[in-house]
Every structure is written in structure tokens, then in C-alpha cells.
Amino acid sequence: MSLHMLKTGLLGAALAVAAGPALAQTKVTNQGISDKEIVIGTHQDLSGPIKAWGVPVLNGMKLAVEEINAKGGIHGRLLKLIAEDSAYEPRKAVLATQKMVERDKIFAMIGPMGSPTVIAAQDILFEAGILQLFPLTAAEFTYKFDPAKPQERLKFNNLLPYVESTRAAVKFMIEHKKIQKPCVMYQDDEYGKNVFDGFTQQTQAMNLKPTSVTTFKRGASDFSAQAAKMKADGCDLVVLGAVIREPIGVMAEAKKIGFEPTWLGASPVCVIEIPALGKGVVEGLYSACGFEIPYRDTAKGKVKEWAEAYFKAYNTEPNSQAVIGHNTITTFAHYVEKAGKDLTGAKLLAALESGDVFQDIFNSPPTKFSATNHLASTITQVSVIENGRWKEVKAGLSF
């Protein structure tokens, strides 16, 4: 036996000892599974401040459910999706979750929306032994878990975390554009803070000093002060921890005063609404992305079929949010399929942790979980807006 094998063996044994008792204790529910259907739930912001995310995500989820059901379901079981509106209010999210657990008897919570809403409601799921899969927030509490608390093993995430994806994209841009004076402008909330942390960690690692740090309130529309400050500080790269309107606003303002650095958005900037609303103003904006954004007219193969089906069903162009919604369901379906015909909660948990790889139709980095890692991937792409469309610059990035 070589030393390497011995090491691996010992490590494996240690892991088994560490994971063993936890594995035995995690309670996973079997409610919501019948011979004919599997009941799953989600809560989205359909009427609150981020409904521009919630509505298309839910559309994407519904379409994926319809597609799976049209093919006869998973091992003969159809999916039944229960969706509730949380309006991005933690109180409503808590009540909606309890309702779905108790009245609708959901088997799994899939793709719930938002950080405060997910964190306020997640203990209810864990106590009931319900899996919380792929929530729409990349915050750490959705995948990091304490092995001493067996119920926390029920959480999995497949979204690109903000800190890691920002680091990867910043690293690429600094090398690619030979940046000397990196700056950051971020939204004053938890998401913006994550972008700021990723930016700071990466610039420190590369021995660069942040030249200018500015913030703005969510929903702000005037960026003249920030643009003037960044111009005065001589920024050559501006990282934007923003969502949809702000990148457009600040870039328009910067153009006006003749300030033209390289702009790089964090992953939520990688949505089609920005080139659609910003038109010429946002040409040349780079962004960290999780996958290549599909366009209905240029897509090929399965993506084309999906994009056409989406347009037909909802009469709007498919967007990143819809892709993410679609992926929550297809990823779930993949692992349910793998869990086998006699599906139980424990079998699905085992399937998720088995290390089996799921590859979506959108060419995202492969999804893979293990007993110790419940985050699918941190591989990032960088795209740029050219002629009003997102175009991939470089894929497979990490820091």
C-alpha cells in the first residue's frame, strides 16, 4: 500500500466517522410523495421590491414542471408545484412556508427567493425534515452547514456565490485589462456587502489598493456624486455591486462627465434587462455570469426549443432569471430520478450527496455535491455587452 493510498484511506475513514453519526440522525420527510405525484413548494417575491426576479423565476420553474410532466414525470410521478407570494417579507415567507409544510404537505422546498425570507423560514423546513434546495440567494447560510447539526444537511445551493464569483471575475479583469486602480461601488445591503468583500479580498491578494469605494441605497437614481468621485480618484476599473437600474444610471452619468473606465458587474448584473433598457449606454459593460445568456434567435438545440417554449407560454423573451428557475427544477428532477423508483427523502439526500454530476442545457459549470460540500460550483464566466447583447468573454474562471 502506498503512502498516498494510506492517506486517502485514513482520510476516508475519518470522514466516515465524522459523517456517520450525522448521517444516521438527519431526519428526512417522505411526505408529499405518492405513487402518482411529488408535491414541491416554493415562495417567490411576486408583488414586492424584487418581483422582476420572482415572476420570471417562477415562470421558468412552471415551464420546467410542465415539460417534465409532459414526458410522464419522474419514474411515473408527476410534479405538483405549489407557489406562494412572500412579497420579500420575512413574515409572509414564514407563514407561507408553514402553510406549505402543513397544508400542502410538500416534499421539498425548491428555489425560495431572497436572503431575509429564506433565512427566517429555513428552520421550519429543517425541523420538518424537508429539503431546502437551490434557494435564490447565494448567501453562505444556504449551503454552509455545521456537521454537528444533522438537520442542516438538508440545505443545498446551486447558485454562484457572490464573494467567490466576484473574486474570480475581478482577478480575470485585472489580468486581462492590466488594471492599476480598481474601484468598487456597491448597494447598501447584504448582497452589496458580499460583492465588496469579494472585491477587497481579491485586490488584497493581488497586492492592489482599492482606489475608491462608494455606496448607494437600493433604488437610488442619482449617481452624479459617485461618478464624480470615482473620476477624481482616477479609477480604471469599477466593480458594480448593483442590480438592474443602477449600472445603467451610473454609466450614463459617467459618460456625461467623460469618465470611461472598464465596468464590471457582479453576477446579478448579468441579465438581459440591462442591455435592453440601457441601450448604447451600457455597451462594453463586463459582468460575472453563471452561464451564457440564451437568446431566442441565436440559440441552438435544446436551448432554442426551451426559449421558444418560454416565449410561447409567457409572451416575453426568456431571461437569466427564467434560466435559474428552470435549473432549480431540472436539477431537482435529475437527483430524484437518480434516487430511484421507491423514492424517499433519505434516498434523495443520498443521491444529492453521491457526487453524481448534473449538466444543464445552458452550458453552466457542472453541478456536483458531496457529503461535506453542498454548494454546486464556484466556476464563473465573464461576459460583455456587445451590440446590445451579452457575449461570453471567458469561461471556467476561478481565483
Binding site: L46, S47, K51, G54, V55, L58, A83, E84, D85, A87, P90, R91, K92, V94, L95, A96, Q98, K99, V101, E102, R103, S115, P116, I119, A120, D123, I124, E127, D188, D189, E190, G192, K193
Partner: protein
Amino acid sequence: MRFIFKTDYEQDIKLLQHGGHWWSYGLLFAVLAAAPYLVGSYLQSQLVFVFIYAIVGVALMILVGFTGQGSIGHAAFLAIGAYTAAYLQARGYPFEVYFPAAGILTGIVGAIVGIPALRLHGIYLLIATISFAFIVEEVLARWESVTHGNEGMRVRAIEFFGQTVSRDSNSFYFLCLGILVLVIIGTLNLMRSPTGRAFIAIRDSETAAKSMGVDIGRYKVRSFAISAAITGLAGTLYAHKMSFISPEMFTLLLSIEFIMVIIIGGAFGLHGAILGAIFIVMVDPLITMLKDDVPGMIAAFSRGFGVGEDAARAIQDRLYAIFSAPGLKGAIYGLIIILFVLFEPLGLYGRWLKIKLYFQLFPLYKRATFRRQKTYVKSERNR
């Protein structure tokens, strides 16, 4: 019609005016005491939110309904209570310590807010309280060493005399109910004390109150402090119920929700605060329930009228799609509120009093009984 024959001055300030009250409140209390054993955790959670909102409602009622001072900043008081609890709990203090501490600290902040409010009236006072709420929100986001900024704070389950009270347990339900009852009894006592009477005098006419020797400044500050302190207590319970707090949970929207509690309930009595809280918390789940159940019921109904199975199913799916349209719930909710403000400015409790009077006077009820007329003192109107 019930006539109370008063034989003693003490009868005027009795909390329960007659035997009927014993029965009705006793029954209500019995139902509430039995509820957690009869209903599931979904309904129980709604009741807990009703209790917490009702505590805030009572607090706002003291300030707005009884003292006549407006406030659109109560979410900030709730936040101060919640953060005090979270901060002290993280440092190992038990619930017995940080619960009163949250109330006291919020009360002090409330008094400080009340001082500039002395010179402000009406809409200017509202603006001042809104700015206060913004300042608090900003401080919570910036003071990272204490509040963890925008990352928010986790709040563990309550440790109460060595017992762990988790947020979905019956004990937590009874804790919230108990605190609500204490707050209500305390407020009733306050309102029949000289302080409470001074509050009402200030609401009705500051000039008249002043000429009667009421120190307006002192009582306004007191009203702010008491209202804030009670809201701070509610904030502690709110933090535990949510298990997580962050600055974006305590926005202007929440303050407006609290104002709506008393406007919908009826801003002139404690019943109004309770009814308003029930409305604000439970309408949303109720509409959700209708969305789930009504399409099935209509389908079953149409089957009864000989509609084929496929058609009935189509009707059900169609209705379900309509009822699940995004934003519909918000629209219904908004519509109800508009209708209330337009047609029942006295709120749910006002409507209840009218209905009760109608039956008490039947068949002699006069339609003009509640026609608005010019009055000089508001307290005459609703007693």
C-alpha cells in the same frame, strides 16, 4: 338593551363594566388558551403574529388614538427592541434581563424623539418620525460592530428561567399571549389614571388641556416613551419569532403597516388595535386559502349542475390560474383598505359598535344615528 344602574363612583372605572363582559372575555380567553392544542403550527404562527402586531397596535393606540400624536416611525422602535434583544442575547444575557432592557432602552429613545415632537403638529410631526425611522435604519446598517450591518443577526431561541422556548412551541404562543394581556391591562389602567386622562385631554384640545393645568410637554414626551417602550417589548418577541433580523426588515413599509393596524381596526379604542392586527396578519393567509380552495369548490358546484368532468376540471384550472396571478393578492388587499377608509373611517371596531347598537335598539334604530356632525371634542363621540 342593557342599562347599567350605577350605585357607586367606583363603577365608572371598572375594567369589566357588567356580567356580560365576564362571559365574552372569559370565552375569548378560553378559546385562545385551547387554540394551540387544537390548531396546527400554521394557524398558531398567524396567531403569534397577531399578538405581536396587537402589542404594537396598543402602543400606537396610546400615542395616536389617545394622545393624538402621529407616528410613522414605529418600525424603528420595533427595530431598537429587536436589536437590543439580539445584542444582549449574543452576549449571554437571559430573556429575563434583555426583555425589560429592550423596553427601557426603547422607552428612553422614544422620550428623546418625543422632545422635538413638542413643537411639531400634524403632518410635520409625521415627517419628523419618518426621518427618525430613516436615521435608525441607517444606524443599524452602519454600526457593524453592534448590529452586524446588512448581514443581519441570527436570534436564538429564548432561554427563559433555564427553559428553551422555541419560536414554534406552545410556550412561545403563551408567552406572547401573556405579554399582550399584560400590555392591554396595563394600558387600560393607564388610561383611567390621571396620566391617561391627560393624554385624552391633549388629543381633544391642547389649549383646553393647558388651561386645565395639564403640562403638555411632559405628557407628550411620556406618551412617546410609553408607546416606544411597549413597541420595544414587541420587538423582542418579533426578533425571536423571525429568528433573524436585518435592517431591511424594519422599513417605512412596516411602519405604515402598523399605522394601518389602528386605522383599519378603529383608532379610538384598544379593541381597534386587536381587530386591526387580526385583519393585517390574517387577510393574506385567508386570500391564499381562498385561492387554493375556491376553484375546487366552484368545480364541484358546477359538477352538481351537470357540467361534465373535463369541463369542471378546465374551470378549476382556469380559476386557479386567475387566482394565482402575481399581484392579485396585493390588489385585493389594497381594495379592502380603500373601501374601509372610504366607507368606514371608524374601522372594524366602529362597524362592530354600529352593528351591536342596531340590534340593541331594534326596531327603533335610527339611520341617522352615526351621521357625521360637527363636534368639538372627539372623546364625546365614541364613548
